[in-house]
Amino acid sequence: MRYERPQTITDATALLAGAAGNAHVLAGGTDLLVRMQNDDFDAGLVVDIKAIGGMCEIVESDNAFTIGAAVPCAALSEHAALVAAWPGIVEAANLIGSTQIQSRCTVAGNLCNASPAADSVPAMVAAGAQARIVGPDGTRMVAVEDIPQGPGKTSLEKGELIEAIVLTKPGPRSGDAYLRFIPRTEMDIAVVGVGVWLALDESGLVQEARVALGAVGPKVVLAQDAAAAIVGTPLDDAALDALAAACSAACNPIDDKRGTVTFRKQVAGVLARRAARIAHERAGVRQ
């Protein structure tokens, strides 16, 4: 295995594009190094992107936050403006692993690891986050939900890497939230995760919504029926019941060591209801 630490993104993409065998991007390493312990792990090249300018920075512009691909999740919660704008995403990012893991793990890495149970992904999908991808052929913006293709698989082409996650600043009367279920209080992989973003109209009805589910299928699920169930409603009990039912219906989970099909479907509805309430409350106070 070769370790490289390029100084520019061009060098990074060239290294990745030119690699003969398996090549991996190293940002926080909290997934990659675990896989490296595995006896059948095989990598010819690891490209550490942390020396590349901007990779470790959160940049706030007039209309967006740009989170460099190597920014550790812990840094998200230290960015007051980001916390105020996207509390659901920051909470999701800070649910990943332990304090130690959060010192290293990144939302871009969480996305590229393409685990269906990734905590930050449903939150980002609900928020309409975009990934800025750089490759040998240039730069493109891709909706976050289009990156994971199945467990461990992404839509990135050889030589491409995520440079940053871009979050547009939220509009008035909007809010996001993410909740997940784990058996313990910390340190577990999500058994079910639900991200909700919604915006209210001036009369207080839900005008727009996005609902994303994690760990209930091979990749993150953007549950459009679930969003539709609350749009136009005051998020009353009937709307929440419809939301929960739609979320349960949108699940296509498996029985595994972390949970059962029945459990995941049922709890997806429960969490959707709770997350929607939180997002609604946040939307209510944001003018």
Partner: protein, 754 residues
């Protein structure tokens, strides 16, 4: 010299205080050396090849390609560990578990091992070992394995303990029975009977330090083993037996131990490391990975238990019966038997019967885990007892007080009790503020009792009085949680000197006589008894030295408060001599001063505890939070109360993990699905509240200071206490441990649908 172990009430000066532990600084500075923290010159790295199959015949192993890898110095298989067990079936089982001989009996069973100059070469060599397996049908479930149509693990096994002796093989290795009276007659007198079946899943001790050792076999037969173990003398004996080594030439040094809880009472990798070192002619370091720890070492039994208890309307239990099936892994042991012995040990019963079945399954060999087998039996029995109390309409604590065993009770497993703590712990529970604290929404309170035998065993100790009057205490019981502090307190107490002037160490096997391991809650009990004996012997020497100094008869010298004193007014002019003064003169008065002791520390007092627990269950997700937890346990005498509390808290925390989330999960293929701390979910810091403790001291009449073992009992009640609390919170009786959120939610759904 005869030793009088009788308890005598006295005012303590050192015992019962909370001084700083002698190994504290080393452990907070990273200087303490654990199993993996030791290296030798020219040391090789070992790696073990393990079976990916739950049950498979090993048809052929070819190691030639692995041996050819550059840097590889030795490759071994079972052929390098010939059977020297001479018909000893239990020893052969240990050998077979260290390295599969004809069949791989579980996912993770060792089949070969490599020693190489570095990890990379060793790993490369492992991949080149060719093993041809014939895959056999497997069985991992305890009930399925006990059925007549189950795949048989060992064709030679006939169920023992049944009449007439069966002539067909079975996975049920043994049946054991305990009890007295006539349970049928007893049930006939009952007004109310509760009868239920319970299940518990397999758990692991979960010590944070993986097994690790460094083995060095020299060409002249002298051999050293550095290892994290709960019993280096036992490891020495087992390794010597398995490898045909002379006991005197095998020197075993116990490292600091990073947790054991029973899991480091059995050899695993040590004979493999020794065999590799012998073959390679170099020192070999073998450290298990976390995955190997889960797949190949230590779990406790999975169980299936039926309980039936009957009582009169006034709350008197008339009969109690339990049938217990415990998984053993692939080798027969006595885990169900221990469960059958402990089931009803808390109660004074006229009619009681317990039957235990040892069941072989394709899972790792079961190892002791803190009060082994008792928590599962207590879960079943204490759940049924709680339900019975509710049915009769009695308070759960009152019901237990009414039926509690006391001094003179004939226990369900045979012996008649002396003074015991079950009644006092229940009375303390009744009076505890926890019992009357208000409960919130979705919260429930539960309680349960627990019992453990405790153990004494072979013990040997040296106590040396140094020329400056300080004391070096060498013990042979491994310090798993502060016993060097406790034993220093004991020596200080008996000699009448300051704790600061005693330094306790754990001696290696070459420098002290044989000691049983630190198991059975015996470390502080047995070594404190031996320390008192050694101190008394040293005092005898000091009395003689004082008599010599004063030139008076030794009968006229008595020992008081750390001083030799001349008895009677005729010696008024003789000032008492301190330990320091006597020690200073030792070179001129007969040489070094020491006390030795060797004994079988009999009379370990049985131990009882009562736990109280409040939980909050989220009815929509089945998630359980421990809101409040109280441990009340009899310590006999708490030598160092902080470490007694630590044992209470640690046992409770392990029980909480077992009750709620910990379990071995097997796939259809018989492979372990969760061999890591990510999905084998031990409690994390944010899962638990502070754990309150109340130490009761009902002196053990068979120990000079009244000490009982305290380490194990605390893991016995939690499963039942939490199950009772959850059942009270949600109104549905939980009968399957762990009560993971999917299980609780499924039970709630079934209750709604039903």
């Amino acid at each position: 010299m005869s030793f009088d172990a009788t308890y005598r009430d006295k005012a303590f000066k050192s015992v019962g205080t909370r001084p700083l532990r002698p190994d504290g600084v080393d452990k907070v500075t990273g200087r303490a050396r654990y199993g993996a923290d030791f290296n030798m010159p020219g040391q090789l790295v070992a790696r073990v090849l393990r079976s990916p199959h739950a049950h498979a015949r090993i048809k052929r192993i070819d190691t030639s390609r692995a041996e050819a890898v550059r840097g590889v110095k030795a490759v071994i298989t079972a052929a390098d560990l010939p059977d020297l067990t001479d018909g000893d079936a239990s020893l052969l089982a240990i050998l077979d578990n260290c390295m599969a001989r004809t069949k791989a009996l579980y996912d993770g069973h060792a089949v070969a091992a490599v020693a190489a100059i570095d990890e990379k070469s060793a790993k490369q060599a492992l991949k080149l070992i060719e093993v041809e397996y014939e895959i056999l049908p497997h069985v991992v479930d305890v009930d399925a394995a006990a059925r007549p149509d189950a795949p048989i693990l060992n064709e030679a096994i006939r169920t023992s303990g049944v009449e007439p002796a069966p002539d067909t093989p079975s996975n049920v290795a043994n049946r054991s029975e305990f009890g007295h009276g006539d349970v049928d007659a007893g049930f006939a007198q009952a007004d109310v009977i509760v009868e239920r079946s319970y299940r518990t899943e397999q758990t692991h001790q979960g010590y944070i330090e993986p097994h690790a050792c460094v083995a060095n076999c020299n060409p002249d037969g002298t051999t050293d083993l550095w290892v994290c173990t709960q019993g280096h003398f036992v490891y020495r004996q087992t390794c010597a037996d398995l490898l045909g080594l002379e006991v005197s030439k095998l020197r075993v040094t116990s490292s600091e131990i990073g947790g054991g809880f029973g899991g480091k009472t059995h050899v695993w990798a040590e004979p493999v490391a020794l065999a590799l070192s012998r073959k390679a002619g170099r020192p070999v370091k073998l450290v298990m990975s976390r995955e190997e720890v889960f797949r190949a070492s230590g779990p406790t039994s999975a169980t299936s238990i039926d309980v039936k208890i009957g009582a009169k309307a006034d709350g008197t239990i008339t009969a109690a019966e339990a049938t217990l099936r415990y998984s053993n892994g692939p080798y027969a042991d006595m885990w169900a038997e221990l469960g059958a012995m402990t089931s009803f040990a808390c109660y004074d019963l006229e009619n009681v019967k317990t039957v235990g079945f040892e069941v072989l399954v394709n899972r790792p060999k079961v190892a002791a885990y803190r009060a082994p087998s008792a928590p599962m039996a207590a879960f079943a029995v204490e759940s049924a007892v709680d339900e019975l109390a509710h049915k009769i309409g009695m308070d759960a604590v009152e019901f237990r007080i009414r039926n509690a065993a006391k001094e003179g009770t004939r226990s369900s497993y045979g012996p008649v009790y002396g003074p015991i703590g079950i009644g006092p712990t229940l009375e303390a529970a009744k009076a505890h503020p926890h019992m009357s604290a208000p409960l919130g929404e979705n919260q429930g309170r539960g309680m349960a009792c627990g019992f453990w035998f405790n153990f004494g065993g072979q013990t040997c100790t040296d106590l040396n009085i140094n020329a400056d009057g300080t004391v070096t205490l060498a013990v042979g019981t491994v310090d798993v949680g502060g016993s060097r502090a406790s034993l220093s307190l004991i020596a200080a107490e008996e000699l009448g000197i300051d704790y600061q002037n005693v330094k306790a160490v754990v001696a290696d096997t070459a420098t002290l006589g044989y000691n049983d391991m630190t198991d059975g809650s015996r470390g502080t009990f047995s070594s404190s008894m031996a320390t008192i004996s050694a101190a008394r012997n040293a005092i005898e020497v000091m009395r003689r030295r004082a008599a010599l100094t004063w030139d008076i008869p030794v009968e006229d010298v008595h020992w008081e408060d750390g001083h030799a004193k001349a008895a009677g007014s005729k010696y008024d002019n003789l000032s008492p001599l301190s330990v320091k003064e006597i020690a200073a003169e030792s070179g001129n008065s007969g040489g070094p001063i020491a006390g030795h002791s060797e004994m079988v520390a009999d009379g370990a007092g049985v131990s009882f505890a009562t736990h109280l627990c409040d939980v909050e269950v989220d009815p929509e997700t089945g998630s359980t939070r421990i809101v409040r937890y109280t441990v009340i346990q009899d310590a006999g005498k708490a030598v160092h109360p902080a470490y007694v509390e630590g044992q209470y808290q640690g046992g409770a925390a392990q029980g909480i993990g077992w009750a709620l989330n910990e379990e071995y999960i097997y796939g259809e293929d018989g492979r372990l699905q969760n061999p890591g701390f990510l999905d084998y979910r031990i409690p994390v810091c944010s899962d638990l509240p502070m754990i309150d403790t109340q130490i009761l001291e009902i002196p053990n009449p068979n120990h000079p200071y009244g000490v009982r073992g305290v380490g194990e009992t605390s893991i016995v009640p939690p499963l039942a206490a939490i199950a009772n609390a959850v059942s009270n919170a949600v109104g549905v009786r939980m009968t399957h441990i762990p009560m993971s959120p999917p299980r609780i939610l499924a039970a709630l759904n079934a209750d709604k649908d039903g």
